[in-house]
Amino acid sequence: MQKPKIALYWCAGCGGCEEAVVDLAEKILDVINLVDIVFWPVALDYKVEDVEKLPDGSITASFINGGIRMGEHEHVVKLLRKKSKLVIAYGACSAWGGVPGLANLYDKEEIMKCVYQETPTVDNPSKTMPQVKTEKEVTLELPNFLPRILPLDLVVDVDYYVPGCPPTPDVTWKSIETLLSGNLPPKGSTLGALTKSVCYECALNETKPEKVLIKDFMRPHKVAIDPSKCLLTQNLMCMGPVTRGGCGSLCLKVAMPCTGCFGPLDEVKDYGGKAASYFASILDYMDEKEIEKVLSKFPDFMGVFYRYTLPASRLRGKIKMKGGD
């Protein structure tokens, strides 16, 4: 029997997801025994043309990490979609845009200008900007920079999601197992994680008082954290309650507040909106001024509430107007 064919591809992301695959450690050998990898630019020398040659639907599953930022990403993922039975958004960036997705708070021009002209370390007196096409000696075409970064599922149809920044080896392994078991869950499911939030598996959940109410917001580097007490009750912004469990509450085990890399649960459509709702709800003040006072301590609302999910949010990022100039 032919082994299932697997493709792996890296879009806009930090590369941590690629590492995460390797983090399977000795289990990676099991994986390699079970599947044929037909495309993995980071590790194996297959070219896009090789994929183009494959018959449609011949790849069993494509694991795509990173958000869609460049025209190239769009091109390749559409190709992989065509060639694959299943497309799996692997990791937070692919699923919701991830940290790079915060770039959606700025438009393309702003980003370009910042990166190529304004960053202190840039030496670019002629203010040269990257071009999509150059015709000096030969005609060269470079991938274009899309107006916004998008999660994978807004570009192609996605079958499953594997959460995490990056997905933990455990989650990765469990999702592979699920896929290989042949007993496929409904389309759109999240693989390898829980249907409940981080609190469910967090050991500190039991230390919560009966009523969780907080009076202040503290940043983790400014307090001595008691690792044996629910971080929320120590006025730390823990995204645990609003974030999908399955990570094994790793961060919380080392007294680091959850930042929400496993994304929202099934019933939540806008992670940041829900997170804000939950956090504001327990802010124990009746007076607007007091609330404002606490909120003024936030370094960055979007970075806190939409750290991994801005491009998948209801508004995708800083709003753009149709037909605008």
Partner: protein
């Protein structure tokens, strides 16, 4: 949902109220184009009997499983159409209403076309929501028709008397060794020749020996579980050390060597460690105050009937009741030492002490003797502890003190015509029936009134002579009144330890600690917690008549609950999806009614649990729930979002 959606839409003309502005025909045609709508009709008055008939028939003829009526405000006719839907054979909660009168035709009379568009949008929204509605059934509980009354003062007694008269089994508890509360200690009452004790005796006549009323004195509340109609109450009965064999011979008190201040007389006389709280105390059994008892056993030796047992232990008991009346009363404001010279001179007393001194059964047998002499000049200082007169005072008005003061002034003038009585007041609030006449009578009897703004000063010189200095506001003149007796007219404060009762039963209180009614005006004896009622001064200052009336009123509301076989609650309450809920407990803090708790389902796995009897259906827990596990029936995320989405787009 496996069942195919079949929605019927009915658009009401409401005479010309709607049809005069909105093109109803257009709306009906539009409704027909909406997904899952199988029939859309218009009628001149949907709420009228024929209009309702159309709905009922269509449910059968078209096999409808959702009904949408576009008419007036649901606050007006939602119940009407719910009933019609149910009579048509459908679950009443599969009905949705679009408000195209109050929200459309009546407010946009000049823009007919746009109003029609808006009406379409409103119908579209209602249809979108209707598509996602679920059948719900009212939550019903069997009612245990017994009641618990906490507090044996006049309001509690009145409530017990009235409930028992309608055949309700009632438990009446009081933490002190006797019933009677504070009213029993008052002397002559304001409007009649009766005394406080007479009111108490009048009420006790109906309560004592009533087989429907179980009286537990020396008893305190431990815990309350359950909800409206079915409370499980744990009580602890503290020992009395004397049992019912007591024949009131009083031999024990004679031999008891311990003397302590008598709290019934506000410390103005002494009692023994074994005592009868007052002459007409109920139950009529002596009691031992273990705090002061030396266990010398003298009483045990002399008791002719062997009623005394010093080894009695507290006992716990559990009762099940359907309703609870809290009639915990009030405490008089206790001035701080030095506040108005209180406790610095024994010629400064409170109004309550004066009541005792003037009572023929009081420590002086009704003679006003202070410090061994009959005072000739008496100054009453009103609003002590009220109206923010001193830094420690409460901001509110204690309501009953004006007329009590005037009554006492008149009693004094009658009994001792040569006394000079001054009343230092801030505002004379004789609001009640007959009070104004009393105020005038006081004037006629040369009770002198001096109005102050800032609290009067009580001066005590080295010889112990007293005078009261105040700035008379209406004369703009400082006056000093030399006096032999200062009576501090103290206000009413929430009873000490009321918070323990309050948090045990889960009811709210106001800023000063008086218990909070469900609605200050229209539900004055109910609380936000169903099945818990309030009587007497525990909600705020009241006089005896008002306390008794509110006791009866609380009994009336309790009876309304307890005379039902079962209680039904609207099912628009919160519901947890246990598959999603992680037990993060965020919702628990949200609930103002304490309806959410965490339940342990497996080892350490916790999920939120909604007590459907406590939940009032505000939905704030659902808005807070970080995982979307908490939802509200009738207002689920999906249903609301469907409405929001439907509100957009072209029509």
């Amino acid at each position: 949902m496996s069942e195919e959606l079949r929605i019927g839409v009915y658009v009401c003309h409401c005479g010309t109220n709607i049809a005069g502005v909105v093109n109803v025909k257009d709306v009906v045609e539009y409704a027909k184009t909406l997904p899952n709508v199988v029939v859309a009709k218009e009628y001149v008055f949907m709420c009228s009997a024929p209009g309702q008939q159309i709905i009922k028939e269509d449910i059968k003829n078209f096999k409808l499983n959702r009904v949408v009526v576009a008419a007036c405000s649901p606050s007006l006719h939602e119940p009407t159409f719910r009933t019609a839907t149910a009579e048509g054979g459908l679950n009443p909660y599969l009905f949705e209403m679009a408000n195209i009168r109050e929200h459309c035709s009546w407010v946009h009379p000049d823009e007919k076309e746009v109003a029609t568009t808006k009406a379409k949008l409103l119908v579209k929204m209602a249809v979108a929501k209707a598509s996602l509605l679920e059948p719900l059934s009212e939550i019903k509980f069997k009612v245990n028709n017994t009641a618990l009354i906490i507090g044996g003062g006049v309001s509690g007694l009145a409530a017990a008397r009235d409930l028992a008269a309608r055949g309700i089994k009632t438990y009446l508890i009081d933490r002190s060794p006797t019933l009677g509360g504070r009213a029993a200690r008052l002397g002559k009452l304001t409007y009649t020749e009766m005394k406080g004790i007479d009111v108490f005796k009048g009420l006790i006549r109906d309560v004592a020996g009533n087989r429907l009323i179980d009286v537990y004195t020396n008893t305190e509340l431990v815990s309350v579980d359950g909800s409206v109609g079915n409370f499980k109450v744990k009580l602890v009965k503290n020992p009395r050390y004397v049992d019912a064999k007591c024949n009131l011979c009083g031999e024990c008190a004679k031999v008891c060597p311990v003397e302590v201040p008598d709290e019934f007389e506000f410390g103005m006389s002494k009692r023994k460690a074994i005592y009868l709280p007052f002459k007409d105390a109920y139950p009529r059994i002596y009691v031992i105050d273990m705090k002061s008892c030396t266990r010398c056993l003298e009483c045990v030796k002399v008791c002719p009937v062997g009623a005394i047992n010093l080894n009695e232990k507290p006992s716990e008991l559990t009762i099940n009741v359907g309703g609870i009346i809290v009639a915990a009363g009030y405490d008089p404001y206790e001035p701080k030492t030095g506040e108005y010279g209180y406790k610095l001179s024994n010629k400064v007393i409170t109004l309550f002490q004066l009541e005792r001194l003037l009572d023929s059964e009081g420590p002086t047998k009704g003679e006003l003797i202070v410090n061994g002499v009959k005072p000739k000049n008496i100054v009453f200082v009103m609003c002590v502890g009220s109206l923010s007169t001193t830094p420690d005072a409460y901001p509110y008005c204690s309501r009953m003190c004006c007329s009590s003061t005037i009554k006492n002034a008149l009693v004094l003038r009658e009994k001792y015509p040569d006394t000079n009585i001054y009343i230092a007041y801030k505002d004379v609030r004789t609001y009640g029936r007959g009070d104004e006449q009393l105020y005038m009578k006081a004037g006629e009897n040369f009770v002198r009134f001096a109005k102050f703004k800032d609290a009067p000063k009580i001066n005590i010189d080295q010889k112990g002579n007293l005078s009261v200095t105040l700035f008379e506001e209406t004369l703009q003149e400082e006056i000093t009144i030399p006096t032999d007796l200062v009576v501090l007219v103290v206000g009413m404060t929430p009873p000490r330890d009321i918070d323990k009762v309050r948090t045990t039963i889960k009811i709210g209180c106001g800023p000063e600690g008086f218990l909070r009614e469900a609605h200050l005006k229209l539900r004055p004896v109910e609380t936000a917690t169903d099945g818990v009622y309030l009587a007497g001064a525990v909600t705020g200052p009241k006089n005896i008549i008002e306390s008794i009336a509110s006791g009866s009123a609380a009994a009336s509301r309790t009876l309304a609950l307890l005379s039902k076989e079962e209680v039904a609650v609207e099912p628009l309450i919160a519901v947890v999806n246990e598959d999603i809920c992680s037990g993060c407990a965020i919702c628990v803090a949200m609930c103002p009614y304490g309806a959410i708790s965490l339940k342990i389902i497996d080892k350490n796995i916790r999920v939120a649990k909604v007590d459907s009897a406590l939940c009032k259906g505000c939905g704030t827990c659902a808005a807070a729930c970080p995982s979307g596990a908490m939802q509200q029936y009738g207002f689920k995320d999906a249903q609301i979002k469907a409405q929001v989405i439907a509100a957009m787009g072209e029509v």
